[in-house]
Amino acid sequence: MTMLSERQQLSYIASQAADARLNVELETEGMTLNIGPQHPATHGTLRIIARLDGEQVIWAEPSAGYMHRGYEKLTEVRTFPQVTSLINRIDWLGSFANEVPFILAAEKLMEIEAPPRAQHIRTILFELSRIANVGLFLGDLGVQMGAITPVFLAFRDREYVLNLIEGATGGRFHPNFDRIGGLKDDLPQGWIDETRQVMKKLRGFCDEIEDLLFGNEIFQSRTRGIGVIPADVARQYGLSGANLRASGVDWDLRRDQSLPMAWDKVDFKVWTHPDGDSWARCWVRLQEVRESTKIVDQLLDTMPAGPVMAKVPRIIKVPEGEAWVSTENPLGEMGYYVVSKGDLGPFRVKIRSASFNNISITPWVLKGVYVPDIITILASLYFILGDIDR
């Protein structure tokens, strides 16, 4: 059905055979290892319960829900413009990107479209969120394996990006800048030049991380061939974003669907990797940050003039209907299924967040791995707690 590389097939068989073999070879008594919810490696409060046989995991189950905020219920008592301040907090490292698919879904139902300049700025801020989010991932990766330096580099350079986001939107973490029909404001003076400078710096950061981390022997031996996810398994679990592309699936919602955003006006490469292991996931993300800086550069060069807000009524009522819009967010496919009954607020919003699906594969992928690899695999799958629990 799906073409798998020989390496993928072998590691797939190996991981499937691991728990069958374990109890035969080693007649040891199992133990249960609890990681989290308060643990530095869990990026928040994800708890993992692993049953071990010796050093190998025979069963693992993440336990989410320590940060459940019930956003789907809360959206039902908010008006459409109010929802963005909630959904900002789903993936808090790339919060502008959370607003975009919801706003697009509402615009789709209202049959309005943001003016070209607003689409451009939206796309730039979207990519800046990706750089801020995934850039931090690249630094954080080292910490999971005992390397402290990369995380300082990442925090240093993320600050430049956050300053840009703050300059344009007024908020460093929760911009709440996207409006139905456009954007709250235009860009401030001098912002475009500053962004060009920062993008140059960020490319330097990527080179730095590549030399420091990806070229490191310890890093390679901890990630290469570890936590292999074959392409057909990845699709079945609905993995998205870099996790899917690292399994060799060439799928990027920025390129593969038409949205009223500016991605079709720029030239960028969608990176994939055939291996599907932890290394591949990290490597694809590194390339994505580089591509994002290039996308931002191109968009800055072709910025159209004009208004940033379409004509929308003062009191927004969204016509009856259903709409599904998803975008390629820093963590993967994030989508909103919005049901409107022609009222001020949505009737039902289903939030499809990337990390929920990405982490639901952990019971499968952690089977048969060694204990220290739990941490690297989870780190390479890259999740944000708020994005799992919502």
Binding site: A64, G65, H68, G70, E72, K73, L74, E76, V77, T79, Q82, D232, V233, R235, Q236, Y237, G238, V249, W251, D256, Q257, G321, E322, A323, W324, S326, E333, G335, Y337, V339, K341, G342, D343, L344, G345, R348, K350, R352, F356, N357, S360, I361, W364, D389
Partner: protein, 222 residues
């Protein structure tokens, strides 16, 4: 029974429309009369409603046709909320003109029951997704999709917890978010949002009359 709204769209829509229509035809061939209704917005999206007894067969048929990317699975409660939207002061009488219709209406592709399953799967090669729906009957049990899409596991757990819909064949329907002994199903429309019930939403401040509107005296005396 494929009904398409606004067929007089621009001619570029044709290529994509034949694609979505062929999906409906292929699925009808696979599951027959269990395909109840479909709704197509040309060049945009497709909704298909199937009989709940054919829920798993639909998943299998679609997966064979290339829809092997599992996006999400959840449910909708179509009951109009008896509590309004919680915007107003809970102690005040609801304003008749402002409250939404109390009649239960289902969305695209129709339906007859209060609870509906809906799920979305995508074909990554043809770049097309489809939203599936199924009416949940009184038994409140639906076949599990885990044998078809392994990723449905957590989504079904969440749906079970939030809507009280059971999944036949699911190995482990533990709660994901709520305590194990939690009573009620929070995402049902008749489950009140308690925070709004006990305390008016702070946003109400915006619509409170200004002090001078109250009785004029207060503003003048100060």
């Amino acid at each position: 029974m494929s009904e398409s709204t606004d067929t007089g769209a621009e001619p570029t829509a044709l290529a994509s429309d034949t694609l979505r229509e062929s999906i409906v035809d292929a699925l009808r061939e696979a599951i027959g009369d269990d395909l109840l209704e479909s709704h197509l917005i040309p060049n945009d999206d497709l909704w298909i409603r199937v009989a709940v007894s054919a829920w798993r067969r639909t998943g299998e048929a679609l997966r064979e046709q290339g829809f092997d990317y599992f996006c999400f699975l959840s449910a909708i409660d179509w009951l109009p909320s008896p509590f309004g939207r919680g915007e107003d002061d809970p102690s005040a009488e609801p304003d008749e003109a402002e409250t939404e219709s109390k009649e239960m209406t289902q969305g695209y592709a129709g339906g007859a029951t209060r609870f509906q399953m809906f799920a979305r799967v995508t074909d990554l090669r043809r770049h097309v997704g489809v939203t599936l729906k199924a009416d949940v009957d009184e038994s409140m049990v639906v076949e599990s999709w885990i044998p078809v899409y392994a990723g449905a596991n957590w989504h079904e757990r969440e749906t079970h917890e939030m809507f009280g819909i059971g999944f036949a064949g699911h190995p482990d329907l533990r709660n994901m978010y709520l305590p194990g002994d939690f009573e009620g199903y929070p995402m049902r429309k008749d489950f009140p949002l308690l925070a709004r019930m006990v305390k008016p939403w702070p946003g109400i401040v915006d619509v409170e009359p200004m002090p001078v509107d109250d009785d004029g005296e207060e503003a003048e005396s100060s």
